[in-house]
């Protein structure tokens, strides 16, 4: 079990002068699966990007702590695994190349055992030396999970994790999510009931729309 925590303090996000959500607070500790739900356009993707430190909130802050120590924004990406429909891997490289370049840029040693395990789990092992542009959208989606989990992050953020996936793909995702949820914090942003049944608690974004 990891000793990691994500805390949101009065998060507010506006696009221009349009309010997306306001006065958002939560505190996720150690491990577990947490859901974020809300209708289209309620800011699910924006919120998970803010949690991942990719976008900045308009007001308030997100505090990430590992082993009781605050993580500086420059190092945050090492603790986070992120899957999203807006995430794309490099088309011109093979799956294996994508993963090894990712490890190089992160400056970690590629854990080939873990990668092979994940490739098997997501049924991509036989295609690992094909370039990503030959993949179907479901395969690309599965590859994103490997990309997100290969560096053993303490915080896994999944934005619409099962989009484009068939039943088999969904099964492997749910298996991995439950595995990860025992060790790490998993945040799922989704509207699929099937995804949300995994969650120990959910946060509904439409509750944070009021102006004050």
């Amino acid at each position: 079990m990891s000793n990691y925590s994500v805390k949101a303090e009065n998060i507010n996000k506006t696009f221009g002068r349009r309010l997306i959500f306001n006065n958002l607070n939560f505190n996720f500790l150690n491990c577990g699966i947490f859901g974020i739900t809300g209708p289209n356009g309620s800011g699910k993707s924006t919120l998970v990007k803010i949690i991942a430190g990719v976008n900045a909130p308009s007001l308030g802050k997100i505090i990430h702590e590992n082993e009781g120590e605050k993580i500086i924004p420059e190092k945050l990406h090492n603790h986070i695994g992120f899957v999203s429909p807006y995430l794309f891997l490099y088309d011109e490289f093979t799956a294996q190349e994508n993963l090894s370049y990712t490890a190089d840029i992160r400056k970690i040693k590629l854990n080939q055992e873990k990668v092979d395990y994940l490739l098997n789990e997501f049924l991509l092992y036989n295609r690992r030396h094909d370039s990503v542009k030959t993949y179907s959208s479901g395969m690309k989606q599965r590859l994103k999970f490997i990309f997100a989990l290969m560096h053993e992050p303490q915080l896994v953020i999944l934005d619409e994790p099962t989009s484009n996936l068939d039943e088999k793909g969904k099964e492997s995702v749910y298996k991995i999510v439950e595995e990860e949820g025992k060790k790490n914090i998993v945040i799922i942003a989704s509207n699929e009931n099937q995804d949300l049944t995994l969650c120990h608690s959910t946060l509904a974004l439409e509750d944070y729309k009021n102006q004050n």
Binding site: V54, P73, H77, F88, F93, D104, I105
Partner: protein, 219 residues
């Protein structure tokens, strides 16, 4: 080094797709041949030779250097980069890539120039080498940071030279007069002021770019 790994990734990607290199190479050939056609049999003076040299460099740079960031933004991979590297790593990686591209491009331009233009005879080669190195660094830094702005602005081609030109103008004007000096054989001591200006430009642009890149990169 993380930035070096990012550079290797870009280089590998460039070797597979040949986006920047092909357009750059063609642009250099087109630009130089247009100049050669228009001067015909005339022998142009040193002033014009030095000026045209930097005109070719400027427009070639504008045709290729934006790719570093625009290609990531077009394919949607900038989110991927944000998730695996800190902003300073990303900027360093892209800067190394553009530096490599600028040095390669300007070496080719200089060799072609020396072969094709009679007026391009360097009396003071050391001075030219210093101008070349310092000028290339400045060109790469400024065009990298402007490329980052362009990529986020979502408008690709036309805006790039428009935004870059005022920023590069002091560098280009000084480099032109330094190139002229090295053709004329002016001594190193007489050009020390211009060299200092180009060096200052490089340092100021590098530090400003690193400070401001965060604001461009995170939206």
């Amino acid at each position: 080094m993380k930035a070096y790994a990012l550079f290797r990734k870009d280089l590998h990607s460039e070797l597979r797709t040949r986006y920047a290199v092909n357009s750059l190479a063609m642009f250099i050939i087109v630009a130089i041949s247009v100049i050669l056609f228009s001067i015909g049999q005339e022998r142009i003076n040193e002033n014009l030779t030095a000026g045209l040299y930097w005109v070719v460099i400027f427009f070639s740079a504008m045709s290729g250097l934006a790719r570093a960031f625009v290609s990531e933004e077009e394919r949607g991979t900038s989110l991927t980069l944000q998730l695996i590297a800190s902003p300073s790593t990303v900027f360093s990686g892209k800067l190394i890539f553009n530096l490599a591209l600028v040095f390669a491009m300007n070496t080719v331009i200089s060799l072609l120039y020396a072969a094709l233009f009679e007026g391009f005879v360097l009396q003071n080669f050391v001075l030219f080498l210093i101008t070349f190195v310092l000028g290339n660094i400045g060109l790469a830094v400024s065009s990298t940071i402007i490329a980052a702005i362009i990529a986020k602005a979502g408008s690709k081609g036309t805006l790039y030279p428009v935004l870059s030109f005022p920023i590069l103008l002091p560098l280009i004007l000084t480099s032109v007069s330094l190139t002229l000096n090295s053709i004329n054989g002016t001594s190193f001591e007489d050009s020390i002021f211009e060299i200092a200006i180009v060096a200052c430009y490089d340092i100021i642009m590098i530090s400003t770019s690193y400070m401001l890149f965060d604001f461009i990169w995170k939206d």
